[in-house]
Symmetry: C2
Subunit: 319 residues, 2 copies
C-alpha cells in the first residue's frame, strides 16, 4: 500500500476545494480547484472531487505513483476519518464519512483526514518554518482562529480527535464578545480577520478618533491593514490591541506545552510588521520568568497559494 | 541495567523527603522519611538520602533487585535530570545536578527526575484513577497548583522539559491577585490551599457575612473545609467560588488537549464534596458544545500516605 513517490493534498474550504500532487520535497506538480458548495449532498461532491484527483494525477504523470491522500477540512476528525457537523460545509451539517467515501471513489487509495489547522501544522513541520522543530503551536489567523499543536513531533489529537481548539479559549472572561460557538470572550472574536474588523467598528463607534476607516461603508481586516500601512493611528492601535490579546493568550499556551515556537499562518498573519512586537511584548510579560524571551514567534514561510495543499498532503506521507 | 523487580520512589518536598521501595503492583514494601532542609548545600543531603535509600532496600530485602529510582521534585527537569532554582529547597537556589549526584552516590543506579505534578500524573496512570487512560490532565491542589499533562500515554515535557505549569495560567486577567511567580491573576493564587485561605480572608474583610471563620486568629484551607462541613454558608460559598474558577480554567485546558478526564490530587482535593459540582458546572458552561458533559472530573484514589512515593516510583519503570 504505502509506496509511491507522490502524495495528494486536498484542502476543503467552505467555498472552494484546492487539490494538488506533491513530491517529497514539497513541490506542487499539478493542481486544480473545484467548488465545494455546488451540491447539497456529499455523494455528487465526492464524485466530482475524485474526478479532479484523477485529473491532477494525469496532469502530473503520476499514475500508479500515489502513496496516499491527505485532507484538511473543518471539523475533520483524524481518528474517525469523518467530518463531524461542519456548519460552513453545505453537505456536512451532519456527520460525513469523508475519508471512507473518498477512498472508495479512488479504488482504495488510503485517505488521512484532519482539521485545517492541524494540516497546516503538519505542512509547516514538513516543508515550512517549523522544519526540525518537535514542539510548536500553529495558530491560523483567518476568518476564525484555528490551532494545531505539535508535541514530540506529533500532532495532538486528544482523546476524541478534536484537540487544539485554542481559538475558543477565553481571551476575555467578563463582558467578552459573543462568539459563533455560543460562548463569549473567545480568542477568535478578537484576533481573527473578522475580530479585527469588529474591533475597528467598535472603536469607530465608541471614540471620535479620526481615521480613514470612517469613510468606508463596510470594514474588512484588509482595510485596517491598508490603513495601518498608510500610518493611520487608529488602525495601528487596532493591530497593537490584537497583538496584545494574542500574546496574553500565547503566554498561557506556553505554560501548557512549553513549545519552541508559536507559528502564525493565515490572512491576518500577513500583518506581521504590526503584530510581531505587541505579541512578543504581551507574551513575555505574561509567561513565567523561565520562558521570558525564549519562545519564538514565527510567521509562516510557505508560499500562500501552495500552503493549504502542502499542509494537507504532508499528512499522507505518514500513511 | 534495566532489570530488577522493584523500584525506588523519592518525593522531595521543601521540608521532608519521603522514599520507599515499590513493587510492580504498586505496593510500598518499605519506606522512610528524612529532612530536606537540614543542610544548606546539596552534597551532605545527597549523602544522607543515599544512606536512606540503602536502608529501605535492606528493609525490603530487595538488594540487587532495584531497577531504578524515580524522583519527583519542585522544578525537576526530566531532560537534564537537574533541579533548576527551586525557591522552596534550601540547597537548590541554583541548578543542582540531582539525578547525576544521586546515581553516583548509589553505584550507578539509574535515576529519573521530574517535577512533583508530573510524577503524580505517572503515578495516577500506573496505579491510580487514570489507569487505562491515554489522555488526561493531572492537577495537584496543594500549597500551589501544579499540573502534569498526559497525551497518548506520555507525560508532556515540552521543548525545555518544563511543560505543564497550568497553575500559572491566567484565571483572572485584570486586577488579579499577586502571585509568587511575579505575575498577577494566576490560577494558583485562587485555587491552591493558600488561595482558598486568601479568599476567606478577603471575603471576611469585604463583607459582614456571619461565619465561624471570623472567630479564628489565622485561617488555613483546612479551617474553611471544616467550616463548610459544619454548614457555614460563607465557607460553602468559598468552595463554590474556588470550584468555579477551576472549572473555567479547565474548559480552556480541554480546548488544548481534549483529555478524557481531569484528575485532581492534593490536600485541597479532599474537599471533593464541595468542589465537584461547581467545577463541573463551570467547565461545562465554558467548553465548546462538542465537549459538554463529556470530560470527566476524577478525584485521585491513591492512598494519600503512599501517593507521593508511588508517583515518583512509577517513573523508574520506564528506565
Amino acid at each position: 500500500m504505502a509506496t509511491g513517490s507522490y502524495v495528494i493534498g486536498i484542502d476543503v474550504g467552505g467555498q472552494t476545494t484546492k487539490l494538488g500532487v506533491v513530491d517529497a520535497r514539497g513541490a506542487v506538480l499539478a493542481q486544480t480547484v473545484i467548488r465545494t458548495d455546488n451540491h447539497d449532498t456529499v455523494e455528487p461532491y465526492i464524485a466530482e472531487l475524485a474526478e479532479a484527483v484523477n485529473k491532477v494525477i494525469a496532469d502530473a504523470k503520476a499514475e500508479g505513483e500515489i502513496r496516499g491522500i491527505g485532507v484538511g477540512a473543518p471539523n475533520g476528525n483524524y481518528y474517525t476519518g469523518n467530518i463531524e457537523s461542519a456548519p460552513n460545509l453545505v453537505w456536512a451539517h451532519n456527520t460525513v464519512e469523508f475519508a471512507k467515501l473518498l477512498s472508495e471513489a479512488l479504488e482504495g487509495l488510503p485517505v488521512a483526514l484532519t482539521n485545517d489547522a492541524n494540516a497546516a501544522a503538519v505542512g509547516e513541520m514538513t516543508y515550512g518554518a517549523a522544519r526540525g522543530m518537535k514542539n510548536f503551536i500553529m495558530i491560523t489567523l483567518g476568518t476564525g482562529v484555528g490551532s494545531g499543536i505539535v508535541i514530540n513531533g506529533e500532532v495532538v489529537y486528544g482523546h476524541d480527535g478534536f484537540a487544539g481548539e485554542l481559538g475558543h479559549t477565553a481571551a476575555v472572561r467578563n463582558n467578552g464578545r459573543v462568539c459563533g460557538c455560543g460562548k463569549t470572550g473567545c480568542l477568535e472574536t478578537y484576533c481573527s480577520a473578522t475580530g479585527v474588523a469588529r474591533t475597528a467598528r467598535e472603536w469607530l463607534e465608541l471614540t471620535d478618533e479620526p481615521s480613514v476607516l470612517r469613510s468606508l461603508d463596510s470594514i474588512a481586516s484588509k482595510d485596517v491593514y491598508d490603513a495601518a500601512k498608510d500610518g493611520d493611528k487608529l488602525a495601528l492601535k487596532i493591530f497593537e490591541f490584537t497583538g496584545k490579546i494574542l500574546g496574553r493568550s500565547f503566554a498561557d499556551f506556553v505554560a501548557f506545552s512549553a513549545p519552541e515556537a508559536i507559528v502564525l499562518f493565515g490572512g491576518l498573519a500577513r500583518a506581521k510588521e504590526f503584530l510581531r512586537e505587541p505579541i512578543e511584548n504581551a507574551m513575555n510579560e505574561n509567561v513565567l520568568p523561565l520562558w521570558r524571551n525564549k519562545v519564538k514567534i514565527v510567521f509562516s514561510q510557505l508560499k500562500e497559494s501552495d500552503a493549504a495543499i502542502l499542509g494537507a498532503s504532508a499528512l499522507a506521507w505518514e500513511l
